[in-house]
């Protein structure tokens, strides 16, 4: 039984539909269209655009509370809705689960293409890059009300000028980041 099951999945590797849809990458255009489709679905169903970075601030608050900190006096968390979010816990926080979903969806895609490999950190430069890069993204996203998904994608698609301003700022940041990357982190 076990051997038949294994042979089934081995034969799948050469199945035409497996190769076209699960093995091979999508073209950029295919992915572009699909992302637009599900972003529109998101607005239609949830009444808000897709957002990623908002949840990170909530996770940060929960972790901070976990080690004895308190965010209730902070302007960011002082509003009734923010307090409700913090108090209702992670099971009632949809944004958190959408982010977890992204991780699992990507994992599923990688495994289905039989392409998963755990990639360790290679050098101390990578540690600095990940640390500094992560901090900058987190801080910047709070100032700008979102990240590449919430502020840029959501903002522009929502016909808000803020999305375009974010895009311009992000572009110049990317240029500077590229120079720094090549000079210090490669």
């Amino acid at each position: 039984m076990e051997k038949d099951k294994v042979k089934f999945f081995d034969r799948m590797k050469s199945n035409e539909y497996y190769v076209r849809w699960l093995k091979n990458p999508f073209t950029y255009v295919t992915a572009a269209v699909l992302l637009a489709l599900f972003q529109i679905v998101t607005l239609a169903v949830t009444k808000n655009a897709w957002g990623v970075s908002g949840a990170f601030a909530v996770w940060g608050a929960w972790l901070y509370q976990g080690i004895g900190g308190n965010v209730d006096k902070w302007y960011y968390f002082a509003s009734d809705s923010a307090q409700a979010t913090l108090n209702n816990g992670i099971l009632n926080h949809p944004d958190s689960w959408r982010n977890f979903g992204i991780i699992f969806g990507a994992l599923a895609a990688t495994l289905l293409a039989s392409g998963f490999k755990f990639k360790k950190i290679k050098s101390i430069k990578q540690v600095f890059a990940a640390t500094i890069g992560g901090l900058l993204m987190g801080y910047g996203a709070r100032l700008a009300f979102g990240c590449n998904i919430g502020a840029l994608f959501g903002g522009i698609a929502s016909l808000s000028l803020s999305g375009w301003i974010f895009g311009i700022g992000m572009f110049f940041g990317a240029v500077v980041g590229s120079k720094l990357l090549v000079k210090y982190f490669m």
Binding site: A49, S53, G60, P94, R98, G115, M137, L159
Partner: protein, 229 residues
Amino acid sequence: MGEQNTSTPSRRSAAPRKKKKNQIPLGFLTVGIIIVIAILLNTVSSTVSFYWLTGSIFGFILQKGRFCFTASMRDPYLTGSTSVTRAVIITFAITTIGFSAIKYGYASSGQSIPGMSSVVPISLATVIGAFLFGIGMVIAGGCASGTLMRVGEGFAMNALAFFFFIVGSLWGAHDFGFWKEKFISNGVTVFLPDVFGWIGAVVLQLLVLLTLYIVAEKYEKKRNSSHNL
């Protein structure tokens, strides 16, 4: 599909071929886990379950497409390539049409427009925040969605970036009061249909996106031809 070559070079690598493990069963197992969790979450809240499912779909699409917003902004400068840039423009154009149709539907029947939380005040905080974000995403090797995607792909470096993204977010939330008082509260909120009307705003935005697309394509061709000289 084009992953396997246009013309074959003369030899193959002599690196020893390990027997590849077939991970497809694990892939289906993961899909099964996603579905089971969706069902379990649905007992708590159908909203949370929906978000989990759409998140999984987004993660799947992003990974299969190697779709990276970071690359869309970084590659034109660093490598001269604008293929991801142009794909992002396509996404924005299609979504603009879909979003505007939904929003106009609500507006024209007198109901409150969904998704207005994406229309935020523009101030120095926006510019600085976006600038910092842009630097960070290139250095960290992934933007917000890209970081999550790569955690799912098994990159330890992006998992580390993910942790510090959370820390940075907390820090930003801590300082937000300062930015709000000094800059954001003086900011201007511009919802394009208020300025150009609904049709005007949509047409204008699509024209801008179309122009950017053409510029991006020409730019890539120009950078390539100057390479080959």
